[in-house]
Structure formats: structure tokens, C-alpha cells
Assembly symmetry: C2
Homo-oligomer: 199 residues x 2
């Protein structure tokens, strides 16, 4: 039985409160005092665990990114034709809409902050580049195995694929209700794949 540590618990309380407040009001409009109040923690405790408000934000981002990464890792396991793999990924991406319910506003906040703070930018863009490269390679392989047309630029296709994901995520952020985003994602990617498939 592992000891339960006080410190770890307050850290989680702070992280959870921060996630909620940053999502709702944004980074700048959320004060450290607010976070502390919601987490039932004193300011001293806050600065004992996090060097700065910035650092808290980065910690939050790290967690989120690794969560998403884990979700995607589970897709490349079964071997199949590339279009099937992409369809799998689309289904998983669609699942994110449910799994991270209400977690999109924070993504918007990540993007906003990434656009101003080089440190945030670096940490956000790096996984994105990796993601893009992964997709590019996927399309490339699909062309080699004869699933896709020969005149496709793999990088363009990869960018468009991620665009669909990002764009739908953004739309879902503003209209969370009334649309089955999982289904839209699936058939949207399906549409794109139809355009890429060799007839």
C-alpha cells in the first residue's frame, strides 16, 4: 500500500482548479488567488508547488498532450491497409470528443498562448510536427501499397487531414450540443479518403 501524500493531493487540486478556470476564463483573466480559493489552498502552498503561474500552465499542457498522445498510441496496433488505419484514427479522434468532454476550450487557450510565448510554442508545436510527420508517412505508405492515387502530395494530404481534425474540434468547441461530432468526423474523413483512393 503506497502512502498517500498530502503534497500530491494539493497539487492535483491546484491543477484541476486551474484547468477549469483557464478553460472558462482564459489564462490572463484567471488569477492565482482564484485558483487557490477554488482548490482550498493558500497562496503559500501554491508557490510551494509551482514556481510561477506560467509553470502551472506548462504543467497543465504537458499532462493534456500526453493524455491525447496515449489515446492515439492505441490506434496503430492492428495491421491493416492504410486507409483502414486512417479510419481507425478518425474513430479515435472522434472518441476524443467524448473522452475529453469540455476539454476543448483549454486547447484553444494552449493555441493562444503558444502564439505569444516561445516556450509554450515550442512545447506545443513539437508534438504537432511529430503528428504531422506521422501522417505524412502514413499517406506515403498508402501510396506505396497502392491504396492512394499517385499524384497526391503526402504532406499536403497530411495537412488537410489534421486541418479537418482541428477545424472540427474548433467547431465543436463553439457548438458542443446538437451535433454528433463523432459521426461528422468519421464521415468527413471518409469523404477525404474517397478523394484520395485509387479508383
Amino acid at each position: 500500500m503506497t502512502h498517500y501524500s498530502r503534497g500530491v493531493e494539493t497539487q492535483h487540486a491546484i491543477l484541476n482548479s486551474a484547468l477549469e478556470l483557464f478553460s472558462k476564463n482564459g489564462y490572463d483573466a484567471t488569477s492565482v488567488a482564484e485558483i487557490c480559493t477554488m482548490a482550498n489552498v493558500s497562496k503559500g502552498a501554491f508557490y510551494h508547488h509551482f514556481p510561477s503561474k506560467q509553470d502551472l500552465f506548462l504543467a497543465l499542457m504537458r499532462t493534456w498532450l500526453s493524455d491525447v498522445d496515449n489515446l492515439f498510441q492505441s490506434a496503430g496496433e492492428e495491421t491493416a491497409t492504410i486507409p483502414e488505419v486512417i479510419e481507425n484514427l478518425a474513430a479515435i479522434a472522434g472518441g476524443i470528443f467524448d473522452a475529453l468532454e469540455g476539454g476543448f476550450p483549454i486547447l484553444l487557450e494552449f493555441w493562444t498562448q503558444a502564439n505569444r510565448q516561445p516556450e509554450v510554442w515550442r512545447r506545443a508545436v513539437e508534438p504537432y510536427q511529430q503528428f504531422l510527420g506521422f501522417f505524412t508517412e502514413l499517406v506515403q505508405t498508402g501510396m506505396e501499397e497502392g491504396s492512394f492515387k499517385e499524384d497526391i502530395d503526402p504532406e499536403v494530404a497530411a495537412r488537410v487531414l489534421t486541418s479537418v481534425a482541428m477545424g472540427l474540434l474548433l467547431q465543436a468547441t463553439f457548438e458542443p450540443k446538437g451535433t454528433d461530432w463523432q459521426a461528422v468526423t468519421r464521415s468527413g474523413i471518409g469523404l477525404l479518403l474517397a478523394g484520395m483512393r485509387k479508383i
Copy 2:
């Protein structure tokens, strides 16, 4: 010859400075004092022309939205098959990348603010809904004229089309250089259209 008015000029100075600062640093991180300094205007002058910082932001958004709207109006003029119209629109959307050079960060700011302030949300989502409806109708017409497959859901297709646009815009915001976004947009939409076309 119309009189040149002092007031109008300071208004423009304020708007321009605000656009630049909001884009670079975000709404919250930009102070009214900063805007005034950059615009060579006193705080008194600022609050003479704008009731509040909020109101300045809304004015900025109104201008931006109408600019974009004007850009798009010029696309539905020639009569052609629907796929051609969409290709036209893609070319124009691609042109926005050049026309509004560096104007994307402010778009990100619009989205962020829309997610917290109902007033901003209302004013931003309304044109977006209109835009979406326009696209849905376009796809519908394309199906009726026999250009598109029959099993397509027009609304889904419209959402995916806008997603591609939004997603590419977002990607372009983070990597302004090194990629010909106009070309990527064109061929990206082309890929999607290929998937929608009746064979």
C-alpha cells in the same frame, strides 16, 4: 472633397494600434494605456471615442468580419457548376492568406473571446452560421445538378469544408513561413471535392 476630420483619424490610429497589440499579446494582456501610447493619443481621447476596451474589441471584430465578407462576396458572381464555384471560393480563401497577412492571430483572439463573452460569441457565430448555411446550400445544389454523389450529407460536407479552411488557417498562424498555404488550400479542397464528385 470631403473634410478630413481629426476625430476620425484618431479613431483609426486607435483601431490600428489595438489590432496590432491584440494580435501580438492578446486582449487581456494589452492595456488601454499601451494602445494609447502606440496610437499617440491620450486616455481621454480614447474614452471619448470608445465607451470601453470591450467596445473597441467589438468594433475591431465588426470591421474584420465585414472585410472577410466582402472578399467572399466577389466569388459567387460567375455562374458555373458547383464544384467550380467551390474551387473559386478555395482560391479566394487562399488569397485571404495573402490579403490578411498576419491577420490570423487576431482571429484566434476572436475565437478565444467568443468562448467566454456571450456578446462576442453571438456576433462571431452568427456570420459563421450564415457561412455554413451558404455552403450547405451549395452542396445541396451540387447534388441536384448531378455533380456530387447522392449519398452525401450536405451539412456534413459543409462542416468539413469549413473545417479544412479553419484548420489550415490555424496551421498557417503557427507556421507563417515555409509553406505555400494558398496552394495547400487549393489542392486540399480539390482532394475533398474529388471525394464528393460523382464518378
